[in-house]
Amino acid sequence: MAIGRPVDVAAEIPEATRRRRWLAAVGEFCRQRPLGAIGAIVVVVNIVVGVSANVIAPYDPLATDYGAMLARPSAAHWLGTDAFGRDVLSRIIYGSRTAMLVGFACALLGATIGAVIGVASAYFAGKVDLLVQRVMDIFLAFPLIILALAVVSILGTGIVNVIVAIAIPMIPRAALVSRSSALAIREMPYVDAARAAGFRHRRIILRHMLPNVMAPYLIMLTAYLGQAILAEASLTFLGLGVSEPTPAWGLMLRGAAVQFAESAPWMAVFPGLAISLAVFAFNLFGDSLRDALDPRLRAQ
């Protein structure tokens, strides 16, 4: 019998079965890791709130109401108002949009570029690997805040530049992790086979090796999501991140929030709680995901 084309195993499984398997995996995850499931739910709620901010928010986040400046939390303004009479709850809801956008963009950029560099470095080995390692060492030693300061000074403030400033320092860390997983994969027979079949380096790296570092990649991704949200809040708080009038959590903690902290503590407390809760949920989910994906931990 002649050797036919390689069979795409996934294609032979009917759509319905595949969906059922997915659901079963999700069910398994929720049952075994309730904390992770809670985290996932909060994450989903956060995303939904961010996406549909314009529908849920009771007020326009930018609308000032000088009749209700620094108002206490009440039925009209659940979380009170700020120094311009803007509704704190609405600003937190819109801030969720910014946080999610920055979080996902940074984590995806940082983890993906890092993974590609790490896997390529492991694949080419030898001099290339050594050189990449050295360059990554340099970036690791570079103070993160200076990198961000420099990027923002060069590109200016604004959401895209903040994303770049936060994603760049993530790359060397992601590269290190992916490289160490990829080192083992490089020795696998299927990589040799792919090389023998005459595939280009790019194809081997992207199609054969990268999918096999998915577990560490997903773990990094979830960890970076939280970190990116924290970094964005810090940069914004320093005046180097997202700038007014974009509603952002870090921005809400700036200036007036500290100035009027004694008379209107809700201005400083609630945005911080929003940051903590969002990052907490991502970390909770990420932790459980790591336990579920990492076979070494699963055995324990």
């Binding site: 904390l35 060492d137 805040i145 924290l230 809040a233 911080g272």
Partner: protein
Amino acid sequence: MTKYIVKRLLLMIPTLFGVAVIIFFLMRIVPGDIVELRFAGESAYAQKENLDTERARLGLDKPIGQQFLTWIGGLLRLDFGTSMWTGAPITEEIRLRFALSLQLAIMATIVAILLAIPLGVIAALRQDTWIDYTVRVMSIAGLATPSFWLGIVFILGLLIVFKWLPPMVYTPFWVNPVQNLAQLIWPALAVGYRYSAVATRMTRSAMLEVLREDYIRTARAKGLWEKLILSRHALKNAMLPVLTVIALEFAFLIGGLVVTEQVFNLNGLGMLFVEAVGHRDYTLTQALVMLVAFVFIFVNFLVDLAYAWLDPRIRFR
């Protein structure tokens, strides 16, 4: 061992050189320079001549390659030069700020160790009980809470509950220890809590791993006192990864506390960083980056050394 140490020390040089190249050219890409910034404040259109003399005085008129070589030459002689903005020697500028940052980093580390090791050990010993869950949730929450916000909440709490504010002006420890601690304990707690979260998790997982080792079973089988097993056999062996985490985090704290310093109005290295970049004070920024990078690389080196020292399996490989 000596060969290993020398090799590691030599490897620091290319990394530091790379950092030097990046910060030198990065600062030159940043738009605007110190001379423009300084004269912008004085008159709407400063004479071009004035700008040129000032640039010549600071050596900014020379070709960029020459500027770089001059700077690197100074670094090799450990001469960081003078701050372009204030004209004071950079070692002077950095010294006081460094003392503050170092003290804060040490205090935060103490807070972190006092929290992390007992909590991590208890969580590992009572794995999967409510104690374990509480410790884990506490440490995940620690990772999720921005320490600058925690600082704001501390200040708020003190203000509302005790009607008291921590001192806002820095007093060196040797001048007035009470005043000094009354100011620095709050940022140290805020930063230390977050820092302890990482260390707690590491302690817990390292302890769990060690407790499964054969030698622990042997120690138990020979009827050794449980307390002794924990302190002498388990904890000692679990401390290596914890030490790594603590050391690396410590290296980060020396220049990475920009936001917390802002909240507590502390003039540490972080604030100096922001000012230096804001003024486009090339010499000061460069010196600071080199300092922070050196601390990071050196702490990494010490950690590797400690590993080799404490773990004979690594030493004799």
